[in-house]
Amino acid sequence: MTEWEIEFDRISKSFFGAPALSEVNFSIEKGKTLGLIGENGAGKSTLMNILGGVFPQDEGTIRLFGKKYSPSCPADATDAGIAFIHQELNLFPNLSVVDNLFIDGFPQIGKSPFIDKSSLQKRAAALLSSVDLNISVRTPVEMLSPGERQLVEIAKALSRDARVLIFDEPTTSLTTTERKHLFNIIKKSQQQDRTIIYISHSLEDVLELSDAIAVLRDGCLVSTGPGREYSVDRMISEMVGRRIEQMYPLRSTTVGSVALLKVEGVSQPGIVRDISFKLHENEVLGIFGLLGSGRSELARIIFGLDSCRAGRISVTEQDITSSSPVESILNSLAFVTENRHQEGLLMEASVCENLALPSLREFTRFGPARILNRSRMLEFSNRIAETLRIKSGPIHKQKVKSLSGGNQQKIVIGKWLLAAPAVLILDEPTRGIDIGAKYEVYGTINKLAEEGIGIMYISSELEELTGMCDRILVMSNGEIRAEFVRPDFDQEKILQAAFSGRAGYKADNG
């Protein structure tokens, strides 16, 4: 007879009358891994929050190890042996690894209030070696790479002897090597008979790791079953509720001859070295590179957020080498930044305010007083919101922070469309958004390219680049290592170029 670790029994939850989960009913076998998938807003987070004691369900019961389980706060979940490894990591960057590991329970000397330093060091070292992390326990967390931080977080979960590990999008900010490492650790935990819930938009990963799959859509369970019964195609069609035949749209125009963006010999010590390329009309130019290859830094230099020591940058024949972002925008450059929370959006402001922010100068009247023409601003913003199909309430009232990730990302792109740019730089435009939203973003990018805009497309997802781009430049260690022109996209060669020149390249390859 199967032993169940977690049983969800007809769980329902609604917020202000809007159902977020309705009668979700499935179970997770003890010591197995369940892949939980669904689009943003499908109810995955709500379900996990209920499991984690963040808020209670309206109806239904959860049984944990066969016993009825109703946590009233997150600490209850921790005590019950459930550990979250969050998408946004919950570590204190200013504290050392060891402090982070034991922040909620330092070992004491007897019953005195003093910390038992020697046992602390020993236990921390043991925990780090259990996740194969080879760093000093005294290292401050801010010095670690995203992958290493994740491993520390896992070590922290293991330190509490958690029986259930929940991974929420663990791979979004990891390099290929770090990802491999993470998977080894996950597999090790599987062998130790821990139960794992693995949530990800990366469906291949889910298939690789999971014993069973559960698909959520619009708060309902679509299907659940053993992993071998699922394929990526089936997962997508169940998540979306329809089949997406052609993920990457076909373009009807060809690359023009006019160079919109010219970068010549741009160097900044320690960041990028001797970068030269041209971006043409109607062209989608991909920039591929691993984390730390200088791809995002290059975009920041071009846009004028960071400076460069040498080289020349021009947009439509206007020199913008040492210009500020303000001047870059006036010269028809636009930049969709990598991290929408930190640099892309004003989370507290309305949709309209965000859409109009870069082009406020266009909506003035009374000359130098620069009084805002609100009705015109609203009219133009509404047009963009409609074009991009941004799902939102009245855009002058709806705050951005209450929208889904996909809609937020559309706003980050949409805010530049009002400014009618000649060149659009996109840095990871589909990170952390679901497949349906990705599909729409691809369509938008394609349409912009057809309208003549030159697009510089930075991404760490190779498949996305080979699907969308006319040409791909590969960066490594701050240099351009290779150039590939459609249709000669060879994923293996591109990856090789991306790994070349990196320390440990041979190890990575072998």
Partner: protein, 347 residues
């Protein structure tokens, strides 16, 4: 829903009116004509300062130097226009004989004395604000530190310049700025209402206003979106300095003196009124109406406490307690708002 009331724009006004009615029951002369006039005469100069402070708070800063700007501009203005300096008090002053003498200040007696003094007071406020803004925006120094040091420096300077003596004998036409009136409308009211209208236009109707809020909410997003962030921050401090200069004019005229200690105990009132009004110390949030309500509440509170048989220190204790409550309310409001959107987000 109690959350709705706390989050409402007019919450502070409602509280003020309720409080006023409560006090009125015990002290019926609260509504006497003289008291009401007194109440409003206290509103205007404080409102000028709070409006300036609001701009800095919106961009995520704080200006602790406002009161010292008042002191230093009050003294400088008086040195330009005072009609007579008492030799017994000022003979030892390093500026004696150079800037002023027994015959009065730099421009004493001239028709330009008062306008020049006013322009100088405002200009000095603007320059000090500019320097504060430069240190914050270009040198990336923490606003708290920059303006704390400025507070100490300029109040010291004001005392040094006067050897801690008040400068009396200000021209009548200057005193009229703070005390005069056109029919029922006091000149102070006229000036500050004009300032408020200007502030409203900037904050609510102009591009600059959008930029102030954008920088306060997320300076990195603002920069990427083409907001000239450094310039916007500097402008906020300039505006704050200008308002402090204006406050200095109104207070100096009312007190009929250039005082090196002007505004010494006013800083808590300014920031207290702003916080009570709901202008967030975390930046990005604040409206003109909130500043007005905050000042109204603060002035009514002050007025009522003065009516009670209390020692001056108990007044300070109560005022401090009320500001603390307001700060608590601010964080409560943030929490309620956060909970509402969090719930909305998942749904």
């Amino acid at each position: 829903m109690p959350g709705e009331i706390v989050l409402s724009d007019h919450f502070v006004l409602v509280i003020t009116i309720l409080y006023f009615l409560l006090i009125w029951a015990f002290y019926p002369h609260m509504t006497g004509r003289r008291n009401i006039a007194n109440l409003f005469s206290n509103v205007w100069p404080l409102l000028a300062l709070v409006i300036g402070q609001m701009f800095v708070l919106i961009v995520g800063g704080i200006d602790l130097s406002q009161t010292s700007i008042m002191a230093v501009t009050s003294v400088l203005g008086a040195m330009v226009m005072a009609g007579r300096f008492d030799p017994a008090k000022f003979e030892q002053n390093p500026l004696w004989g150079m800037v002023f003498s027994e015959q009065g200040g730099l421009l004493a007696g001239s028709g330009w004395a008062v306008p020049a003094a006013i322009i100088i007071m405002l200009a000095v406020g603007v320059v000090i604000g500019f320097l504060n803004g430069l240190a914050v925006a270009k040198l990336k120094m923490p606003p708290f530190m920059v303006t704390l040091v400025a507070m100490s420096f300029y109040s010291g300077l004001a005392i040094y310049l006067t050897r801690s003596e008040n400068i009396m004998h200000l021209p009548d036409s200057f005193i009229a700025v703070g005390k005069g009136s056109l029919g029922p409308v006091s000149s102070a009211m006229l000036i500050v209402v004009t300032l408020a209208v200007l502030a409203f236009i900037i904050l609510n109707l102009s591009i600059l206003g959008r930029w102030f809020y954008a920088v306060g909410q997320n300076v990195r997003t603002a920069r990427v979106s083409g907001v000239p962030a450094a310039r916007v921050v500097i402008l906020a401090y300039i505006f704050s300095g200008f308002c402090a200069g204006l406050g200095s004019i109104l207070y100096s005229a009312r007190l009929e003196a250039g005082r090196p200690t002007l505004g010494r105990n006013l800083l808590l009132d300014v920031i207290g009124a702003a916080v009570i009004g709901g202008i967030s110390l975390y930046g990005g949030k604040g409206r003109l109406l909130w500043a007005v309500y905050g000042v109204l509440f603060f002035v009514v509170l002050d007025n009522s406490l003065n009516k009670m048989p209390l020692q001056f220190y108990s007044i300070d204790i109560i005022k401090g307690g009320v500001i603390l409550l307001a700060a608590l309310l601010d964080s409560l409001r943030t929490r309620i708002a956060a909970r509402q959107t969090a719930a909305g987000e998942i749904a």
